[in-house]
């Protein structure tokens, strides 16, 4: 790794990233780079540190060492909400939507305006907000559910709603943690279609176990094992890597 010679086009540059929980290194000296408009899938066995990597990038967990550069900005020093404002969106593994609010209100809260206390007191639900909410709702197949409370949605619909909440933020980097887990076959197909539509003009970092799904969408795959990179490259290359077969794909 040549410090100072990173090519400019990297959207996200993770270098030397380490996090240790009471001595246990969940992520150990990890470096990888994501380009503009790239879809990168992270795979790996349980406990490999996949979710931790996303937590580190979005600021949920603080890094012990290393750096995360996003468009030249150092993310490890920023607070979660500031990281969101630089253009990083994160979807959690379990759908986390606001169940006591309607689909419309869920999406509206994520609309990137009026995010300060006084901004939110004076926030107006104007035509622009409504238009954007409806546009996103249509994309996530929830257009006719705008006034439904989120707790009445199915598991898959909640997942879509959360993806919609990220879309409305229009992030440059979208991070999705197991977006199709727990979905029915038809929901899964719809989600793949949805993801293929929304990944235009942005980079996406996805954690997923469903290899079929990974093959469908990935430009490049990173295999994590015990907090370190085991293999990286195209799906074809990774699939045939004997180390990957041994620890992950083989069983």
């Amino acid at each position: 790794m040549l410090i100072g010679h990173q090519p400019k086009e990297f959207l996200l540059a993770v270098s030397g990233l380490t996090v240790s929980f009471d001595g246990f290194k969940a992520v150990n000296d990890l470096s990888f780079y994501v380009e503009e408009n790239e879809i990168r899938v992270i795979i790996g066995p349980n406990g490999a540190g996949k979710t931790t990597v996303l937590d580190l990038i979005c600021g949920k967990t603080k890094a012990t060492e290393g750096s995360i550069q996003f468009r030249g900005k150092e993310l490890t020093k920023l607070k979660e909400n500031e990281i969101v404002k630089t253009g990083v969106g994160r979807k959690f593994q379990t759908p986390s939507v606001f169940e006591d609010l309607s689909v419309f209100e869920n999406l509206e809260i994520s609309f990137p305006r009026g995010r300060s206390v006084f901004g939110s007191l004076t926030f107006q639900r104007d035509a622009k907000v409504k238009e954007r909410v409806e546009e996103v709702a249509e994309m996530i197949f929830l257009k006719d559910k705008l006034s439904t409370y989120a707790d009445e949605l199915s598991h898959g619909q909640k997942q879509w709603l959360e993806i919609g909440m990220l879309l409305i933020q229009d992030p440059d980097l979208l991070m999705l943690d197991e977006p199709v887990a727990g979905m029915s076959v038809s929901e899964r197909a719809k989600t793949a279609e949805l993801l293929n539509r929304i990944i235009k003009n942005r980079s996406v970092l996805v954690i997923e176990h469903d290899m079929k799904f990974v093959e469908d969408i990935a430009h490049k795959v990173t295999v994590l094992h015990q907090g370190q990179i085991l293999s990286e490259g195209t799906m074809e290359k990774v699939k045939n890597d004997p180390k990957v077969i041994e620890v992950y794909l083989g069983h």
């Binding site: 909400n81 939507v97 606001f98 609010l101 209100e105 809260i109 009026g114 939110s120 007191l121 639900r125």
Partner: protein
Amino acid sequence: MIINSRFFNRSELIGFVSLAVLLFLILPLSLDIFRLNLVAKYLTYAFVGIGLVLCWGYGGILSLGQGVFFGLGGYCMAMFLKLEASSVANTKIQSTPGIPDFMDWNQLTAVPMFWKPFYSFPLTVLAIIIVPGIFAFIIGAAMFKRRVGGVYFAIITQAIAAILTILIVGQQGYTGGINGITDLRTLYGWDIRTDHAKFILYFVEVVLLFGCIIAAQFIRLTKLGRILVAMREQEDRVRFSGYSVANFKIFAFCAAAIFAAVGGAMFTLEVGFMSPSFVGIVPSIEMVIYTAVGGRMSIFGAVYGSLLVNFAKTMLSESFPQLWLFGLGGLFIAVVLAFPSGLSGIWADYVQPRIDRLLSSRKPKAAWTESSVADGAPAE
């Protein structure tokens, strides 16, 4: 500001109008001045309750220390009234005339610096808002920025209530100690102890209460109100939608503190004294119970809860003083276990549907269908 198409939906409008009729007409016309003054005292807790609805019901921040802010507001008002009551003419038998009596008993010879602003009524009114506001801001910033929340926050607020009580009791020369600040007489020469003054003060208080109700309703209907609900459910999702969760919690906590302080100031005016017994742990918990009984998600519920529980308290403690605390504890357990959304929940689940059915059977296809509710914005 029109966020929903209407400021109150139909059931809220009914609640608002019926509360106005009750407080402005029925109670003043039917009660004698002694009972009306008791109602005024009960209603001072409704201010605290409204704040708790925002902070606890909506924001999910349980504060067991609202007595602190109630007390700060009350003490600010009491300090002004005490200084006015301690004119040289009134206190000429003291060794230092012109200072409050308890200061004289504690060998103070001059009014302390921090009492000086309270010679001015405008400054006092400002202090009633600013002092609790700033205090709540400091506590809120210290706790929420460090992500202290839930039970830990509740315990800390309770500790603060205990600390403030001990401080007030201990600093007798500056605060009047355990007796509090008593023997308050006039406001700009207007005797607040007369029946007539109590009657006027009742109406002043009810007007202020409606001011607070409208302010709380306004906050509830803005996006900030929805963010509070969102925060209560999925704090991380709010954070990763680009909001500083701590700032919103601080706002809710400060708003609740200021409402409580207005109630405390009115309490001092209605009752004619202020003491540490309204600051500590027990009154703070009682205030949470009033809100829980009324329904912690309902602004009107908080008002009715304060009225009813206090009314019951007066009745029961007049006849069975020992039983009251058990009654209160039992009530709290019953509400939490059986009716988590309190009286307003019982109303919404059982009474409201019957009324609706009655009305709609009489007037088929009434005008109030869903058309007036904004798209995607359920009225509740």
